[in-house]
């Protein structure tokens, strides 16, 4: 079974105002960083023992900011290499941000097998960066880009549009500097106000304007046009790449490839039978450290796919790296098919007629096509450029139709 491997490093220097990912704003002491690396190794060994890591297509070390671990960033990557059997062309990505990018550590990472860095640039406008609560500046981002490209690894960067106060000019400048930096991969996200973030508070207290959806849409389109004109291809709703630079780890998420998540709040997706085997293991049923172990009940017979999320608490992970997940979702065959169709539509290649009909979503796609959100080309369904901007409409409709088959789309 080919799988992807994800490691979640729940530390960052400063929590960004808009971020609702699981992370704690601390720079770990070397001892803590080493302990974290040990815990990752324990997690990997557990899955390796179950035979799940025999064919790993990609590794992604994300967060948080993995490079807050400093020189200890190297050990979890190293330990994964030793526990997993990687495909020869495996992609190994480490996320980083401009302030924690150290050229020497970057080189060490490449030496232990890292093939790709993903840098959180977000913007080349310091005013926008301050609004986002980022602690780096445009110039430190450029320096980090140089350092990373200098290692010879592939580099991807994230950009955010639709930020309050961000002008069209500022955005155009950011996109141009991203293109000319020499990276092969650029992801473009609109800013979203997530519940519970400082940013959401500022918006609700009217300290800052909420993001303007129309302007964000315009920026997404202008960025797309600029990137395509510069030789990038949009291969996914938010991602643009030069030929051969497509991110293969994320592509795995959209194509139904199983994945293992190690670390606090990391998600895994497994075929039901593999999960069934994991339940049997001692580490999942042994209470171990008081209060954090529990026994899972068996997998429901109709379940085909399991998605689970590790406990979010970092201390739990550090004390007992291997244990049962906090949340488990059992997906039936019908749900798995609907999910595959929904996620497949995030890719520009879209999904085949076969996938659509397996998922029972051909009718809803026809309906969405009449609204100009998707199109049928050859034997495939693809999202249109209008559909990209209204992705939620498409994904939500496809998921709903796929999981409510036989109810008739129009009555929903």
């Amino acid at each position: 079974m080919t799988v992807s491997l994800y490691v979640h490093v729940p530390f960052c220097v400063v929590k960004c105002a808009y971020c609702d990912f699981h992370s704690t704003p601390i720079s770990p002491e070397p001892a803590l960083a080493d302990h974290f690396a040990w815990a990752v190794g324990e997690g990997a060994a557990h899955w390796a023992a179950l035979g799940v890591l025999d064919d790993v297509a990609s590794i992604y070390v994300g967060g948080g900011t993995p490079t807050t671990l400093g020189s200890a960033t190297v050990s979890p990557v190293d330990v994964l290499h030793r526990n997993a059997r990687l495909a020869p062309d495996a992609e190994v990505t480490v996320e980083t941000n401009p302030d924690t990018t150290d050229p020497a550590i970057a080189l060490q990472l490449v030496e232990v097998g890292v093939t790709r860095f993903s840098l959180g640039v977000q913007s080349f406008d310091d005013t926008v960066l301050r609004t986002l609560g980022r602690c780096h500046t445009a110039s430190s981002a450029e320096r980090a880009l140089e350092d990373l490209l200098g290692t010879g690894a592939a580099v991807s960067m994230d950009l955010i549009c639709g930020v309050p106060g961000q002008t069209r000019d500022s955005w155009r400048d950011t996109v141009r500097r991203a293109v000319s930096s020499g990276v092969g991969h650029i992801s473009v996200y609109p800013l979203t106000v997530e519940e519970g973030t400082p940013f959401a508070e500022s918006v609700s207290s009217e300290a800052i304007e909420p993001p303007d959806d129309d302007l964000a849409a315009e920026m997404m389109e202008s960025a797309g046009a600029e990137l395509v004109a510069s030789g990038f291809r949009r291969y996914e709703v938010a991602s643009y790449a030069r030929d051969g630079c497509e991110g293969r780890h994320n592509a795995g998420y959209w194509t139904g490839r199983p994945y293992i998540g190690i670390g606090p709040a990391a998600a895994s997706m497994l075929p039901a039978e593999v999960f069934g085997a994991a339940i049997e293991c001692e580490a999942w049923s042994d209470p171990g450290v008081a209060g954090i172990g529990r026994t899972l009940e068996g997998v429901p017979p109709e379940c085909r796919r399991v998605r689970m999320v590790n406990p979010a608490d970092t201390i739990t992970f550090l004390r007992k790296p291997v244990g049962p997940p906090e949340d488990v979702e059992y997906l039936t065959g019908v749900e798995a098919a609907a999910e595959d169709a929904m996620l497949g539509l995030r890719l520009t290649d879209g999904i085949t007629d076969g996938t659509a009909s397996d998922a029972g979503v051909a009718d809803v796609l026809t309906e969405l096509a009449s609204q100009g959100l998707v199109e049928h080309v050859g034997d495939r369904w693809r999202v249109t450029s209008r559909g990209w901007l209204l992705g939620n409409e498409v994904f939500e409709s496809v998921w709903y139709a796929g999981t409510h088959r036989g109810m008739g789309w129009h009555s929903l």
Partner: protein, 633 residues
């Protein structure tokens, strides 16, 4: 009382295994001692809302050991959940308590708790007909308010003894002297010997009961005359059918009697008579002057009407008691299930509620926009809110209510008269000769500083100023004639906010008057949405149309296409706004493959949409249908 009955009651409690929570404790009284009219006092507690009426009633039950302390739930008499939560009394209640006075004698006190809201004025008036006196409760800090005046007037008109009681004297802001002055000046009721009390601490409660015994006259009546009993309330018991609460004016009623309801002319047998303590306790008979309940086995609440007179089927009274009238709903709204499949459930739920609330009326209504539902008539806005809440809570229905309307009398050019409860039923403008609408006489009590604010609001609402007078240096009483349709449009909230909460309001129905009224249609994406149309005065149509379209633009979310919102009379467009098409709706980065979480966000979004009503192709949130009500001016 006959012991067999008492035993029967206890037996039943043992059978059901429940604690006899309402059985009285202490010495075993026999009601016969106190059933002599000289030892009966029938009284009510009346007050402006929130002046502490129900808490006082609770203290009376405690003091007389009618309900054991440990079984005392706050405000026992307000037994419905919603009544308790909102701190209001909706249905009248009656309870008999026994009180040994300072003179050493034990009296039978019948405490008739009345609804405190103006929607239920008729019920209050019937309850007062069952009494000889009232405790007029006035908050020691708030002083005399509009319903204090209205209730006191009702008690005076009924010729009752009025005992002023200044309540909440434990409050730091209490000013009993000022309030005493307001009662004397404003209501012309002597307040020298007003009872000073606190429902919270219990202080003054026995003084109040002593006052009742000393000042409220015992009931008068003729024990030998044909039976005349006033029904002042009724409720539905699943096992027993309709239970009527009655005051015996003349004669006696006993189990087995054949009786007749004089208004509905229904003849039936008396299955049981009894008294409420507050649980039903059967007795052999109820004699003149007494208050109790009557079970007939009638299952149809429409046959047992509040205000009707009960007499014997043979040799009964010739003339009924005065004052009976049919309770007529004043406010109408369309109730539609959000999920069309719930229509039969809504019908069943309304049928069930009507058993306990004969004032509730409804008929099927269909709307192009909202599908099948009911046009429901209510006594007033509070009644409407309470019923809607009960339907949603007790029957688990998801309902959409259209903006309330009133009953219009439309006179057509063809010399016909049409009753219109719903804007949909309004004839074309060309067919209308004139339209009449219900008017109220509103009484507003307010500190002098806010007279200007009240005048401004009232002018905005087509109200005609009648007169005003100073009740005291701090309170002015103003009278207006105002269309009911204006009053139900957020009037009370506006009044409160413009007077910083100081104004109080009461009103009574005064009749129909002609007005220049037109139907204003609201069009979404070019199609008139029947459930959004409303009736408005011609001079206000343009302004309301503009305000409402603007409001709707804020309420209707952006859709996949542009949605024009228009206000129109006949074919003439008065105002237009546009909800631009939605351009962007994407989720942010999906991290670490936590697709479950993102998908749940999508599902939540979908659920939000399902709670909206799909009108044509436009998703309309529920708020839109109530927006008409909240036209800030």
């Amino acid at each position: 009382m006959e012991s067999r009955k008492e035993g029967g009651q206890e037996q039943r409690q043992r059978d059901t295994g429940s604690r006899p929570i309402h059985a009285h404790r202490g010495p075993c009284y026999t009601f016969a001692d106190m059933s002599q009219a000289t030892h009966i006092r029938n009284f009510s507690i009346i007050a402006h809302i929130d002046h502490g009426k129900s808490t006082l009633a609770d203290r009376v039950l405690e003091l007389t050991h009618t309900v054991a302390d440990r079984d005392m739930v706050e405000q026992v008499l307000d037994s419905m959940d919603i009544e308790r939560e909102r701190g209001i009394t909706i249905k009248a209640q009656a309870v008999r308590v026994l009180y040994t006075a300072e003179d050493g004698q034990t009296y039978q006190l019948n405490l008739i708790d009345t609804p405190g809201h103006v929607d239920f004025t008729y019920e209050v008036s019937r309850s007062l007909q069952a009494c000889e006196g009232v405790l007029l409760v006035v908050d020691a800090a708030q002083g005399v308010e509009a319903q204090t005046v209205a209730n006191a007037m009702m008690a005076m008109n009924a010729g009752l003894e009025i005992i002023p009681l200044i309540n909440k004297i434990d409050l730091p802001a209490a000013d009993p002297e000022r309030v005493r002055h307001e009662i004397e000046e404003g209501l012309a009721i002597p307040a020298d010997d007003a009872v000073l009390a606190s429902g919270k601490t219990g202080e003054g409660v026995s003084a109040a009961l002593e006052s009742v015994i000393r000042r409220v006259p015992p009931p008068e009546g003729d024990p030998d005359a044909p039976l005349k009993a006033l029904i002042f309330d009724s409720y539905f018991d699943t096992y027993r059918g309709v239970v009527a609460l009655v005051r015996i004016i003349d004669g006696t009623v006993a189990k087995g009697d054949k009786i007749r309801m004089m208004a509905t002319n229904v003849v039936t047998d008396v299955e049981e008579v009894g008294v409420r303590r507050p649980a039903n306790l059967p007795v052999d008979a109820l004699e003149f002057g007494e208050v109790g309940y009557l079970i007939t086995g009638l299952k149809d609440p429409a046959l047992v009407k509040v205000g009707d007179t009960v007499t014997l089927a043979r040799g009964g009274a010739i003339e009924p008691l005065p004052g009976y009238r049919e309770v007529k709903p004043m406010v109408f709204t369309g109730l539609f299930p959000i999920d069309g499949d719930q229509y039969p459930d809504l019908r069943d739920a309304l049928d069930r509620l009507k058993l306990n609330d004969p004032a509730l009326i409804y008929e099927p209504e269909s709307s192009h926009a909202l599908g099948f539902g009911f046009r429901v008539g209510f006594l007033g806005l509070l009644h409407m809110e309470v019923i809607k809440e009960r339907l949603e809570r007790e029957f688990d229905l998801d309902l959409l209510a259209t903006a309330p309307s009133v009953e219009y009398h439309v006179f057509t050019t063809a010399a016909e008269q049409i009753i219109v409860h719903s804007p949909q039923d309004m004839p074309e403008p060309g067919m209308i000769e004139r339209v009449e609408e219900p008017y109220l006489r509103a009484t507003v009590l307010v500190p002098p500083d806010y007279v200007g604010a009240v005048m401004e609001l009232s002018e905005n609402r087509r109200a005609t100023f009648k007169d005003m007078q100073y009740l005291s240096a701090t309170t002015v009483e103003m009278h207006y004639d105002i269309p009911l349709s204006e009053l139900i449009m957020d009037f009370f909230d506006q009044l409160k906010s413009r007077t910083r909460g100081y104004a109080s309001l009461d009103y009574e129905y005064i009749g129909y008057r002609a007005s220049k009224l037109v139907k204003l249609d609201i069009l979404l994406a070019g199609k008139a949405v029947d459930a959004l149309s409303f009736i408005v005065h011609r001079d206000k149509a343009y302004q309301r149309g503009r305000v409402l379209t603007e409001k709707l633009r804020g309420i209707i979310p952006r859709q996949m296409f542009e949605v024009p919102i228009q206000a129109a009379i006949g074919g003439k467009i008065l105002a237009r706004e546009t909800v631009r098409a939605k351009r962007k709706d994407v989720l942010a980065k999906c991290y670490g493959g936590d697709i479950t979480r993102k998908r749940k966000l999508l599902e939540k979004q979908k659920k939000g949409k399902k709670r909206m009503k799909n009108v044509g192709n436009v998703e309309v949130p529920q708020d839109a249908f109530m927006a008409i009500l909240k036209v800030d001016e």
